[in-house]
């Protein structure tokens, strides 16, 4: 997903303009633009932000009980047509004529049967805060921003797991943080952690809030005061080092702001997880995030050069920025994936790259999923994967089709018909088996075109047909609207979720088939009336395997406890993944949702190692979110 989904191609002229502007400025004031070391974000912002950063009162612009911005949502209008509101996305304001039929057909749902959410947060249902008064006093004295408003606390009490959102929609509030604090720089965090240790308060770091592993859930058994440490105000790029192509950034910055601000200087990190509109740099580090374009830029562990984290024992960081070291086990790997159990990541030095000259989407139709996987495997073998290459199965291809906006001209619709005819009739692809790979190429124009040809040539050997840029782009669009779509489904008795894994190449097909079938079977056995949507795509390729992403959703009419059913099925699906040689998680993390399998996943000794680190770093369990271990 490109930030805001707005630009797909940057002309070289534009780029030169950006760069020359940037150079010009640089000549005048050197590092001054971004080098301020003092501690107040607003004051030091050299270039007053064009786009507003994340506000403290997030619920002013974001949904309190659903995904994303309040102004952007799917709905079925009076004519029964689906539309997407707001102005933020390419799809905003458009009608999606085929979504209704797909929705009703796939889930057996009916627009007459609504299951609306509680319209507003019932403040009286929020338990009163359990405050540690002396902690609060000292915090106030130190000048740290804080709040005990119910809206602020509820907003930070959850991630985006189905059960979390479902409970909010029903107006059910369980344990929520007792206090929210907003440090504005590293030193604020040091103070907060010191005070938390002193007063034995439980800290839960909160970045973008996009967790899907129950990582943000407050442990119900926690008796201490729980403080949510919201990093959103630590959002500055502190410096850019063009000689080494690194940027030093405060960890609270969210993906879209980071990319936008770097773009202004002609750079990017290239790290684009699907959640990048909302997720934060610190969150990426804490969960070992993966970006869509990792083939060029790498995953978070490849991008990070230096990390600063505040723990109850003090600050942990390396003494230099050497690109690789042999100094015992890499301490970064204790931090990455620690899921907020050891401390707060405050500042990160990341690799940056010049903004690519040229970007091009593409897509390939395969006669079936097997051929598609074989092609991706070959691409990985030849190490010529584009910035992104993803393979959707047939169900997801049909899903993607249902999201086609109304066609404006007869010509386009005629062209679509012609394409369909060519693929299904002339080439003999079965519309119920064919599947689509979406591609994104990046780099300088000539190389992109060359690269493109190489990939299409490989695809041809596996029966793949080039299917145009539009299809490719729409495929990537699906990624960011899917979360909004879940809210629409929940308005009509449909619940769902996605989960992921990574698996060696030779097991990809078996794993996909078995997990999808397991989901269908478990739903049936648990009394789900209509067959579920059970679909997958291969989203990343590696030398030795791939990342597979599953979507699973069903119509829950007639079930007394749909969330329980959902959780049982997801549990069974995860068991199936593990039985088929898949990993516990590729990038979502473990949180509390997948904790039970950690021992199996890393062995008893492995788990013991992690526990002993926790024991040393945080003996009083100040970072008490109880994730992972």
């Amino acid at each position: 997903l490109h930030s805001g989904g707005s630009t797909s191609r940057i002309s070289s002229q534009d780029r030169l303009r950006v760069i020359s502007g940037h150079l010009h400025q640089r000549a005048q004031d050197g590092h001054a633009a971004v080098s301020a070391q003092e501690c107040k974000a607003e004051a030091s912002r050299a270039n007053p932000a064009k786009a507003a950063p994340v506000p403290k009162r997030r619920h002013d612009i974001m949904k309190w009980n659903g995904w994303g911005y309040s102004d952007s949502r799917f709905l079925f209008n009076k004519k029964g047509q689906a539309e997407f509101t707001g102005k933020r996305y390419r799809l905003s304001g458009l009608i999606l004529p085929s979504l209704k039929d797909w929705f009703e057909g796939t889930f057996g749902a009916n627009l007459q049967h609504k299951s609306p959410a509680t319209p507003a947060l019932n403040v009286s249902a929020v338990p009163p805060p359990n405050l540690n008064e002396s902690f609060v006093e000292e915090l106030k004295a130190a000048g740290v921003a804080l709040s005990q408003e119910p809206e602020d606390r509820v907003f930070r009490s959850h991630g985006h797991c189905l059960h979390e959102i479902f409970a909010l929609r029903e107006g059910r509030i369980s344990r929520v943080p007792d206090l929210v604090v907003w440090p504005s720089c590293h030193n604020d965090v040091v103070k907060i952690v010191e005070l938390a240790c002193k007063h034995n308060v439980c800290l839960i770091p909160y970045g973008g809030g996009t967790s899907v592993s129950s990582a943000l859930e407050c442990p119900p058994e926690e008796t201490r005061s729980i403080v949510s440490l919201d990093t959103s105000q630590m959002n500055r790029i502190l410096w850019i080092d063009e000689k080494n192509l690194t940027a030093h950034v405060e960890a609270g910055i969210i993906g879209q702001d980071l990319e936008r601000q770097l773009n202004e200087s002609g750079y990017c990190t290239g790290h684009e997880p699907d959640s990048m509109e909302f997720s934060s740099l610190g969150g990426w580090v804490a969960t070992r995030a993966s970006g869509m374009k990792k083939n060029i830029y790498g995953n978070i562990e490849d991008l990070v050069v230096h990390i600063k984290m505040v723990t109850p024992r003090g600050v942990i960081e390396k003494s230099c920025q050497g690109p690789r070291m042999s100094t015992g086990p890499d301490i970064h790997h204790f931090i990455m994936g620690s899921e907020g159990t050891l401390g707060v990541v405050t500042e990160v030095t990341m690799k940056i790259r010049p903004v690519p000259e040229y970007q091009k989407y593409g897509s390939i139709v395969f006669p079936n999923f097997q051929q598609g996987v074989a092609c991706l495997r070959e691409v990985a073998k030849q190490r010529c994967a584009p910035a992104s290459i993803r393979l959707m199965d047939n169900e997801q291809f049909q899903f993607g089709h249902a999201l086609k906006p109304q066609v404006s001209s007869i010509f386009t619709s005629f062209l679509d018909g012609l394409k369909k005819f060519y693929i299904t009739k002339f080439k003999g692809f079965d519309p119920h088996h064919l599947c689509v790979a979406t591609l994104l190429f990046e780099g300088d124009r000539e190389k992109v075109l060359q690269h493109e040809k190489q990939v299409y040539d490989i695809a041809a050997k596996f029966g793949g047909l080039a299917a145009g840029e539009d299809n490719g782009q729409r495929g990537y669009m699906l990624t960011f609207v899917i979360a909004y779509l879940r809210d629409l489904g929940m308005d009509y008795y449909v619940i769902g979720e996605s989960f992921e894994t990574s698996v060696p190449w030779d097991r990809v097909l078996d794993l996909c088939r078995n997990v999808k079938e397991r989901i269908v079977r478990e739903c049936k056995e648990r009394g789900v009336q209509f067959p579920p949507l059970s679909t997958c795509r291969v989203t990343q390729t590696y030398d030795a395997g791939a990342c597979v992403y599953f979507y699973f959703a069903f119509n829950y009419r007639g079930l007394s406890d749909p969330i329980h059913v959902y959780e049982n099925v997801e549990h069974a699906a995860r068991e199936e993944i593990l039985a088929n040689g898949g990993s516990l998680s590729h990038h979502h993390g473990v949180g509390k949702l997948r904790k039970e399998w950690m021992k199996e996943a890393v062995s008893t000794v492995g788990l013991g190692m992690l526990k002993s680190v926790k024991e040393y770093v945080d003996p009083s369990n100040i970072f008490g979110n109880r994730n992972l271990l």
């Binding site: 030779d506 097991r507 078996d510 794993l511 088939r513 078995n514 079938e517 397991r518 593990l578 039985a579 088929n580 040689g581 199996e600």
Partner: protein
């Protein structure tokens, strides 16, 4: 556990069984030719990877797993890769089937004629067929018929063709291949041939297992094989072999298929074609080598009446549900799946357990004819019975069998005496009625005395033929009978004492009968329940006591086991008394046989069943298992080392169960 259906319920009587339909009925009323040429369009597996038989071979030969073993073998024996690959191709050529619809049509025509001549009816449970049709579409299917006759697999394919179901590929023993023309015909009707023993031959195993697994994974066809490994000559189920079952389960364990359905099929014959052939074989007359001319000579059997046969397709058993909680599939995560791996102890135990349970399912759905009851009674009365007594006791036994959950095909609307007389008539080669007395037919020797070896042998043929029918019902009685004997032996009614005796006997006989390993407690409870239900015993808190009316039932049950107790004792006695220093294993059976025959001729043993080589081999296997006898390999020869003290004490213990033999 999701596999409840696989376990015998607490009350087998309540087991609901399907109705039958006679497939020959339509054959008798319409053209066989049209039937053989009709449109055949079976429903196929949803995940089918379409491929021809020849294509199949190249998939197997190119597979990673075979390539791996070829590399291994070539490194070990120093031959070139190509040579080993060539060898593998030859093995596959020898093995592979060439299933052709044309041949099936030919068989459909000729077998229609033959079956109509042989059988009054071929009854199939249609609901089972419907379940199978469903199962075939959902997951790869493995058909597991019982094996009592050569007829079995022809009949299976015939029925599947009749019902428009996917035709199976069948694992058959190599012995057929020597029947020139017939072997090839069978190959073209879907049989693939496996050598009887290929012990350590890595390459053979690799070719064979990959061939089966490829067909399974691709959903090529249902795979059919006999769990028992060979035809049972005794009418009892044989201890299952787990080799092939292991192979068909592996694709599931390794995640290559979502599930595999195992379908037990029970094929029962009112009269077995090979009846007296089997008895002679058990007495040491070697079985005739399969040959085409032999088959043609067997034509005369076409003129005889073999009654009806029943084929019951059981509920498909999902390996996935069975394995749930028993097998961790993730154990295969750390090794490339094409590298052959010995199954772990857990896996082996699971496969073994499953094999036993499947055989029990076969047994449970085996249809029993009234003759089976008559044979049981006649064997307990070797001097013959009055027809009236037989009728009376048969009626009693019928009720007992039904109480135990027998799948008895007894015509309800007919009077008991009529049922019996028609049964006797069908088996007139085994029994005769003269002067109101029913006795076994024994081939008379002109003018000879009754005490010669040959006379004894002739009588044994009759007894063993008859026993092969009684044996069909043993699975029903064996557990209660073990309790009956245990109660008699324990000489005390304490339940734990009885259980100990029961457990001992069960252990001794676990090569003889299908007794699931490790299920002693379950078996005991099941048997207690049945005995309580039929009013023979009362189960109290601590005790198990015979009820007043239980005497007849318990005595009957004891005599059911009697031939086996006596037979095992004879084997023990032989090993104690007669054994020379080094008995070669392959001399064991003839030696025991002549020892036994001498006991019979001297009049000290009445039990002709002790002559059965099957029983003798089972007894030896049990003694080896109980470590009373040791096998010592020296070169090609295996000798038996007997621990006389152990064997003697075993004989003693068995003797306590059977006072009559003590008297000898």
């Amino acid at each position: 556990m999701a596999s409840k259906s696989l376990y015998s319920g607490r009350d087998p009587v309540l087991k609901k069984r399907d109705d039958f339909e006679d497939v020959l009925e339509e054959r008798r009323n319409s053209s066989d030719l049209r039937y053989a040429l009709r449109c055949y369009t079976p429903a196929l597996y949803k995940g089918l990877v379409p491929c021809k038989a020849s294509m199949l071979k190249s998939i197997v030969l190119q597979s990673d797993s075979l390539q791996y073993v070829v590399g291994q073998v070539s490194a070990e024996c120093g031959e070139s890769r190509e040579a080993v690959q060539e060898e593998a191709a030859l093995l596959l050529e020898e093995m592979a089937h060439r299933l052709q619809l044309g041949t099936i049509r030919f068989f459909a025509f000729t077998l229609s004629k033959a079956f109509k001549a042989l059988f009054r009816g071929v009854c199939v449970n249609e609901e089972g067929i419907q379940r199978l049709q469903q199962a075939i579409q959902e997951h790869p299917v493995v058909l597991l018929p019982s094996h009592r006759s050569y007829m079995d697999f022809l009949m299976m394919s015939y029925i599947l063709y009749t019902y428009d179901l996917a035709l199976p590929v069948i694992a058959a023993g190599m012995d057929f291949i020597s029947m020139k023309f017939v072997g090839e015909m069978l190959r073209m009707s879907g049989a693939f041939f496996i050598r009887r023993s290929f012990g350590g031959d890595k390459l053979y195993w690799a070719v064979f297992s990959e061939y089966v697994k490829t067909m399974l994974r691709n959903g090529y066809a249902p795979i059919e094989f006999f769990l028992e490994g060979t035809r049972s000559r005794t009418g009892k189920s044989l201890t299952p072999k787990t080799g092939l079952l292991n192979i068909v389960m592996e694709p599931f364990f390794k995640g290559e298929v979502f599930d595999v359905n195992l379908v037990p099929v029970s094929i029962s014959y009112e009269r077995i074609l090979e009846e007296s052939l089997y008895a002679r074989e058990l007495l040491g007359v070697p079985k005739p080598k399969e040959s085409t001319s032999g088959l043609l000579k067997a034509r005369r059997i076409l003129s005889e009446d073999y009654g009806s046969m029943h084929v019951y397709f059981g509920h498909p058993v999902s390996i996935r549900s069975l394995a749930q909680g028993h097998i961790s599939r993730s154990q295969h995560n750390l090794l490339p799946r094409h590298i052959p791996q010995k199954p772990t102890a857990d896996t082996q135990a699971f496969v073994n357990d499953t094999a036993f349970r499947l055989v029990r399912l076969q047994e449970e759905n085996m249809v029993l004819k009234p003759w089976v009851l008559l044979a049981t009674l006649l064997l307990q009365n070797p001097d013959g019975m009055d027809l009236s007594t037989l009728t009376e006791q048969a009626d009693w036994l019928r009720r007992l069998a039904l109480a135990f959950g027998a799948f008895l095909d007894w015509p309800d609307h007919e009077p008991c005496s009529k049922v019996i007389s028609s049964s006797l008539a069908l088996h007139k080669n085994l029994v005769c009625v003269s002067g109101g007395r029913v006795r076994l037919v024994v081939e008379e020797l002109p003018g000879a005395e009754s005490a010669t070896e040959e006379a004894g042998f002739n009588r044994a043929v009759s007894v063993l033929s008859c026993a092969s029918y009684r044996n069909q019902i043993l699975h029903l009685f064996v557990r209660p009978a073990l309790i009956a004997v245990a109660m008699q032996t324990a000489n005390c009614s304490r339940k734990d004492e009885v259980f100990n005796c029961f457990n001992f006997l069960r252990n001794v006989f676990s090569n003889e009968f299908i007794l699931c390993p490790g299920a002693a407690v379950q078996d005991f409870e099941e048997a207690c329940y049945l005995l309580g239900k039929c009013g023979a015993v009362q189960e109290l808190q601590q005790d198990l006591v015979m009820s007043q009316s239980g005497q007849t039932t318990l005595a009957f049950l004891c005599s059911v086991l009697d031939p086996f107790l006596q037979g095992y004792q004879v084997v023990c006695r032989y090993l104690c008394e007669e054994l020379e220093e080094n008995l070669l294993e392959n001399k064991f059976v003839p030696a025991v046989r002549s020892f036994t025959l001498q006991l019979i001729l001297s009049g000290s043993l009445k039990c002709y069943e002790a002559l059965s080589s099957d029983l003798q081999k089972n007894a030896l296997a049990a003694l080896i298992r109980l470590k009373a006898v040791r096998r010592v390999k020296a070169g090609d020869q295996v000798t038996l080392k007997v621990n006389k003290i152990a064997v003697n004490s075993l004989e003693d213990t068995l003797g306590k169960t059977n006072p009559c033999l003590r008297r000898l």
